[in-house]
Symmetry: C2
Subunit: 476 residues, 2 copies
């Protein structure tokens, strides 16, 4: 076995790091068939790990058919012979690490999603039935166009023109949610080695997409007012920004910063991608003008979605951008999944056209404002002294920084045992890991649940802070 | 301008080839800013092209902002200056060529899809309403799991176990149609330079996916009984096969060939992917056992979908394969689009569970059998002497080979002028282009329409064959 180098500060758990490095040694032939692996106790001792960490890594190697454990004798690298079938482990690309679900947590601040209890079930039933009774229903059930269900596409394009976020040179593609729009963008634009500027901290689904495409990430630190436009450098081919109620921080850029960012992108020839999915969840005052409104060159790519203001289970988003880009993304879309589900497109179109979406939006704003107040009040009341947290005026997320030496990642299992979940800051880190940071996604919980959950977290964090020694887990 | 090399036999139209080569010369700097392009008449003359072909290529270059046409002076390569914004054309990857839609064709044999007039609208309305009244409806509208809507996943997994196409080592991922399952497979398995064995001719959405991922295609010629297992070589990392009613030929492999293919895949360690979307559209006798049933090693990956037997507008398919692979595909799925639309998943589950899918399937089989007879009878009656065509016993497609010197690609515009559409063979070609070949997708047309369409084609082809000279278009 060759030396192993594990990084305790990484967002990748130690057992996954160990598994990955051993796997690489085995599939590359550095460890030969028949070679015996160190006993778990022995390896744990030499690496300063918990024995359970080593056992978990060995189990994954066994699942992938790379080693075989024999009771009393230890674990050996398996020999592969012709006719043994597919060597899966050697053939597959490494999977990106994604935040795990937190099953069973009653009070989950882990997911940025709308409140289920406010879904207007009667209005949705009515809307669906109108779609199903309409003469176009058979066409909705039939194979569709890669660019999207044309009546919805036209509706969204007209609305975009009305808002001055689509000009004569722009076109619109409907995608299976905003995530797919980001995916199609990376397929069309990113080649290995390209520099992509992203916010830090940032939504992990964005970070991992660009990493998977082989991009080098250029971190733009997010402050009180989002990123500083000067952080976007000329060397970046593409920059992705969420100017309003950024995920995970909730930060919002000023109008001046927006204008300056668009100016710089034009000067550099950088593709500026505006993730606009949270902007309409503005609980105080009016939403600020999006980047795309300041884009006289017509180069900004704007991404939208129904997921945050309507029902995320119906996967419909869109991208607005220059015709040449949208044509390429549409070709990539056809290869990816032919087209977006048409039933959901037709239902969301009817929901919007009928005015029901706007009605629902009003209720969402009222509920969101109440929940935002609840989470900010609870953070102020219950979290330990020295805690800092953002004070957004919209969106679904709050960014909390616990005082040192608290580590939000290490404390999560304890929170989960008390039925509370959140996402630790390290999932969102690009260049700067903040061990004490965590995201509270507050929109899907009722105000009472929010208070209850934050109170539990506050109690737990305060107790931890008052202990003299660091917990065992933090030493692993 | 550097020399241009166009290939008239390519599936890529000449104007696209010309555009691509000029674009490359401009973005690479081989053609300098300010350089004048040859006049369209002049370039057409020197390349032996139609002038309209050159004009179309120049128009595309202008749309991409690479050249500027000035009346009376000609076209010039545009100079790019700092601050000109995004150089889109240089930044984007080349788009794959996909078969164009044939809008307006009343009698379209161009798409492999079920008949719209047979959609059981009342049963669907009933099913949707049951889903909307069920207590799980709010959860259906909420953000879901990347692996799929769990009740549907369990339903499909149990059905797969019952059919012996899922063993203890298998798992199941729900995808946005079978196309996405193929896409996720290429993301997880294919690295640039890998060899992928595919049928020839093959479904273009498969061919283009693998090409886009950088795979080298190894063609396995499709004969009367599908591919010869001996055509799958050890050098291929992955092989994708449609054993029953292959698209585009309708060919079906024998049980012996299936067993031999699975045996060879195991011997070579090749990942065998079975595209099973057509097998249940079996109009004569019983469907043959799928490859996965002969797969004792548990390595075969099987892809299924509701699209061909239910409603393709609802995008729900799935992949069954070894747990380690499905876990990687699920991670890739989450990055691609978070998860598949849940409303459609819930509706299709209810449609299947209630027995309505089976009822509908019965009607689809009766209609399909009638349509298959109609298209075979019409081909025999109307197509010119010397035409050969496949005689499938199921599926949606028939492969027609016109006698020489007919070229199905060149004849298509004329067919479209008479309101008939089909896809020419070159879209499906891997190593072997058959200019006289075309695909007739018969399932979505009524028997009378099928006869009418084939009669028009027969008249047109026969007239062409009886002309002494080749048409102008074929010389382009």
């Amino acid at each position: 076995m060759f030396p192993l180098a594990l990084d305790p500060a990484s967002e990748v758990p130690l057992y996954r790091q160990l598994f990955g490095q051993l796997r690489e040694q085995i599939t590359s032939g550095q460890m030969a068939a028949g070679e015996r692996l160190p006993a778990t106790r022995e390896l744990a001792g030499s690496l300063g790990l918990n024995r359970a960490t080593v056992t978990a890594a060995y189990e994954l190697l066994e699942v992938e058919g790379l080693i075989s454990g024999q009771v009393g004798r230890g674990s050996f690298v398996l020999e592969r012979r012709r006719g043994d079938g597919v060597a899966w482990s050697a053939l597959m690309r490494e999977a990106p690490l994604l935040p795990g679900a937190a099953p069973g947590a009653l009070l989950s601040f882990a997911t940025s999603r709308p409140p289920e209890d406010l879904f207007p079930l009667e209005l949705i039933r009515l809307t669906c039935n109108e779609v199903m009774e309409s003469p176009s229903f058979p066409a909705v059930l039939q194979l569709g166009a890669p660019s999207g269900y044309e009546p919805l596409r036209q509706f969204l394009l007209e609305e975009a023109r009305r808002r001055s976020v689509a000009g004569g040179g722009d076109d619109l593609l409907i995608t299976s949610g905003c995530q797919q729009a980001l995916d199609l963008l990376t397929r069309v634009l990113v080649r290995p080695g390209d520099s992509a500027a992203v916010e830090d901290p940032v939504y992990p689904g964005l970070k991992n997409l660009f990493l998977q495409a082989g991009a080098k990430l250029a971190a733009m630190p997010v402050g009180e007012c989002g990123i500083d436009p000067a952080a976007m450098r000329e060397s970046s081919k593409v920059a992705v920004v969420t100017p309003s109620f950024q995920n995970p921080t909730g930060a919002t850029m000023t109008v001046e910063a927006r204008k300056e960012l668009v100016r710089r992108a034009r000067e550099f020839g950088t593709v500026l991608v505006e993730n606009d999915i949270y902007s309409s969840l503005c609980y105080e005052g009016q939403p600020l003008a999006p980047l795309k409104q300041f884009d006289e060159a017509g180069d900004v790519v704007m991404l939208g979605s129904f997921s945050k203001i309507a029902f995320p289970g119906l996967r419909v988003g869109w991208a607005i951008g220059p015709k040449a880009l949208i044509a390429r993304m549409t070709a990539a879309k056809q290869l990816a999944d032919l087209h977006t589900d048409q039933f959901s497109q037709a239902v969301l179109l009817r929901f919007a056209e009928s005015g029901r979406l706007e009605e629902h939006h009003g209720r969402m704003l009222a509920a969101g404002a109440e929940r935002l107040r609840a989470v900010m009040d609870a953070c102020a009341a219950y979290l330990p002294q020295g805690t800092r947290f953002t004070r957004p005026s919209g969106g679904m997320n709050l960014w909390v920084r616990l005082p040192e030496p608290l580590d939000a990642h290490d404390l999560l299992p304890r929170a989960q045992r008390e039925n509370v979940a959140y996402l630790p800051g390290r999932y969102f880190a690009v260049a700067r890991v903040e061990p004490g940071a965590l995201r509270l996604s507050f929109a899907s919980l009722a105000p009472g649940q929010i208070r209850e959950g934050v109170e539990i977290l506050g109690r737990l964090f305060t107790a931890e802070l008052s202990r003299d020694t660091r917990p065992e887990m933090a030493m692993v």
